[in-house]
């Protein structure tokens, strides 16, 4: 469970100071799916980075399962990211020189999984996202949707408790978008993940249990349909 209290994030930009987050309070229950929407530059990605331990708040606390991430030493924070948090990015962020299986293996490297086990788990993860026949393909040999599937496999191969996705369908056409969202939802349901998804797409956001709106660094959270959706009850895409 995430618990954010009074989270503020300021950073310098030129001579001025940007107030990216201005006192965000938020609780995300285990296995909950929260979608965050908002205009560009209003703090969505900053919030996601703070949730993922990629950045630290200027003020306030960020607790994950009762542990304050904002005061954690960098080495420990790195271990938390390696074990518990999966990331998916808008631009997939695959390593261009490694094939699909090796890209997935990369996530297991900091966990010191042996080479053979790493390979087996990576191939299994790719098969689970429907890429069993693309194991040795380089990212440049895959479509956008396939690349994002590799990124999803990479995020989930270590079996994290949290999945943070930053515009995961932003670079995809509508049909591929739907496939990816279906896949993410299946994984959310199947694995009991806590999922936070930043998106501009209201259709995608509509699939989440709760919906947060970021405006000028302030977050307002409401259930999508007025009542929290349970995993498995899937509304139709618009």
């Amino acid at each position: 469970m995430y618990k954010l209290s009074g989270v503020v994030k300021n950073y310098k930009k030129g001579r001025g100071t940007v107030h990216a987050l201005q006192g965000v309070d938020l609780v995300i229950e285990d296995a909950e799916w929260l979608a965050i929407q908002g205009p560009t530059g209003h703090g969505k990605s900053t919030l996601l980075q703070i949730l993922g331990g990629l950045d630290r708040p200027s003020a306030g606390t960020v607790e994950l399962d009762g542990v304050n991430l904002s005061r954690m030493r960098e080495s420990r924070l790195t271990r938390v990211r390696a074990r518990s948090i999966g990331f998916i990015f808008q631009t997939f962020n695959l390593i261009p020189t490694l094939n699909a299986a090796e890209n997935v293996e990369v996530a297991l490297v900091p966990l010191r999984v042996s080479g053979a086990a790493r390979k087996a788990r990576a191939e299994q993860a790719l098969r689970s996202v429907g890429l069993g026949d693309r194991l040795r393909h380089l990212p440049s040999e895959l479509s956008g949707g396939q690349q994002q599937r590799v990124a999803i496999a990479r995020a989930l191969v270590k079996e994290p408790s949290v999945l943070l996705a930053d515009e995961p369908t932003g670079n995809l056409d509508e049909g591929t978008r739907d496939e990816i969202i279906d896949l993410l939802e299946d994984l959310w349901v199947g694995r009991g993940l806590t999922m936070v998804l930043v998106t501009h797409d209201s259709t995608v956001a509509g699939r989440a249990q709760r919906h947060g709106q970021m405006n000028d660094g302030r977050l307002t959270v409401v259930p999508v349909t007025g009542q929290a959706r349970q995993p498995g009850s899937r509304p139709a895409l618009g």
Binding site: S75, T78, E102, V106
Partner: protein
């Protein structure tokens, strides 16, 4: 994963990797070639110097002749000339006088060798006597006593002689010699009337092993013929030190227990300056000469090659190496800058910073090793080229060279009297030390580039790195 990632990344930026490796290779190749050429020049110089100086000798100690000592023109015959002028020698008397005289150097006391031998860092010593054997033959002319020139009636023959410490022939005048016939001295021959003669002198005088040679009026049996390599100006005859001391005279005085040259071998080359200082304290009037003093008197193309290798070559290779290191560092940093998103992603996936630095350094060191291997090949090729193309170099030692400010002594005298030009074939030996140096340089180049690249990668904040994606 480390090696897979490393291999793929190097393949991705193959051109850049080749460019960096080539830069390092040129630098390292130059260092190897220049070092090999420099070693070759040093070997050439050593060959020249050893022929003059003696293999194994680090320092020689001599002393200038005392004021009023016997002049070379009289060769110790002052007494006989005076007797003739006073009419004590009758006209028509046949003269045949053979003296062994010390004409060039001052004598050093019996305890001098022991004093030097007892100094710290001195490995071994050997005393020597550099003398001249002079024979005057002729008939006393019919002239009024006390007037006129008598020189035209007499024939003078002389040869250079070295009294050798037979207990330590690894030092001194015979140390560089190779026996071409017969044998050398053994310690049992310390007092024997045996002689070793120089091969050129033997040829000129048609002498062979078993013949005799007159030294200061005493017959010495020729037991060996020696050749001193690379020319130089070796003595004509070598006899054991004891008979040389017994027969030789210095200004009419006996040379018993005296020497005029002390050859010194020092425990370590780094100790040479300290040993020189200590000798100067122990023997304040002595002239102390080391190979550097002697080397400064070497001129000709060998000296030019030495100067070229040590100055231009050294600085050129250092400059190229620094440029290669800088290039490698800058290109590695630029490569890291282009991979900000990649490293940010790895950090987001939980890769600790050290693992990312290791990856960057691994790539740089691999390039360094490839550059080093190519550099060794280039260096070998350069050295081979020198071996194939280098002309014979000549070294001129003697009056054409300026005398050193300090030192000189016996050798200075030897050198300044007779200029010698010695030909040396320049080789460029690539030693294991040079290969080790090349490998270390390659690793250093890779490490330096990797440290810069790794430092840049380590400074990346994951959030900032990923922000570039947006």
């Amino acid at each position: 994963m480390f090696f897979t990632y490393l291999r793929r990344e190097l393949r991705r930026r193959l051109r850049q990797a080749i460019f960096i490796a080539l830069g390092l290779a040129v630098g390292i190749g130059l260092v190897i070639t220049v070092t090999a050429a420099s070693d070759g020049v040093k070997n050439g110089q050593a060959a020249v110097l050893h022929s003059l100086y003696g293999v194994g000798t680090d320092v020689t100690v001599t002393q200038p002749p005392a004021a009023g000592a016997s002049r070379a023109t009289t060769f110790g015959f002052r007494q006989q000339i005076q007797a003739f002028r006073r009419g004590q020698i009758a006209t028509g008397t046949k003269i045949n006088i053979n003296n062994l005289v010390n004409t060039q150097y001052g004598t050093l006391g019996a305890d001098s060798v022991g004093k030097v031998a007892g100094l710290r860092s001195v490995h071994s010593t050997a005393g020597g006597l550099s003398l001249n054997d002079v024979t005057v033959t002729g008939t006393v002319p019919s002239v009024k006593a006390g007037s006129g020139s008598i020189a035209s009636n007499f024939t003078t023959n002389s040869f250079a002689l070295e009294g050798v410490d037979v207990s330590n022939t690894s030092l001194g005048a015979l140390s560089a010699a190779k026996m071409t016939a017969g044998g050398g001295f053994t310690s049992s021959e310390a007092k024997a009337d045996d002689a070793v003669i120089d091969s050129n002198y033997a040829q000129q005088n048609k002498l062979k092993v078993g013949d005799t040679v007159a030294v200061g009026g005493t017959s010495f049996k020729v037991i060996g013929i020696a050749r001193v390599p690379q020319g130089g100006s070796p003595p004509d005859v070598y006899i054991p030190l004891a008979p040389a001391q017994s027969i030789g005279k210095s200004s009419g005085a006996s040379l018993a227990s005296k020497v005029n040259t002390i050859y010194v071998s020092v425990a370590s080359a780094t100790d040479i300056p300290a040993v020189q200082t200590e000798i100067a304290k122990a023997l304040p009037k002595a002239t102390i000469t080391d190979q550097d003093n002697l080397a400064s008197q070497v001129s000709g193309s060998l000296a030019s090659a030495s100067s070229l290798a040590n100055n231009l070559g050294k600085w050129l290779s250092v400059a190229v190496l620094i440029a290669a290191f800088l290039l490698a560092s800058l290109l590695t940093m630029a490569a890291v800058a282009r991979r900000v998103r990649e490293f940010g992603t790895l950090k987001a996936l939980g890769w600790p910073t050290w693992r990312i630095i290791r990856q960057v350094m691994g790539e740089s060191i691999t390039i360094g090793i490839i550059g080093g291997a190519a550099g060794v090949a280039l260096g070998y090729a350069g050295a081979e080229l020198i071996d194939k193309l280098a002309p014979k170099l000549s070294a001129t030692v003697g009056s054409s060279s300026p005398a050193p400010a300090a030192g000189g002594g016996a050798l200075k005298s030897l050198l300044s009297n007779v200029p010698h030009t010695v030909s040396v074939t320049l080789t460029a030996p690539v030693t294991i030390d040079v290969i080790v140096l090349a490998v270390l340089l390659a690793l250093a180049g890779g490490l330096i580039a990797g440290i810069f690249g790794g430092w840049r990668a380590a400074r990346l904040r994951p959030a900032a790195a990923l922000a570039k994606v947006e």
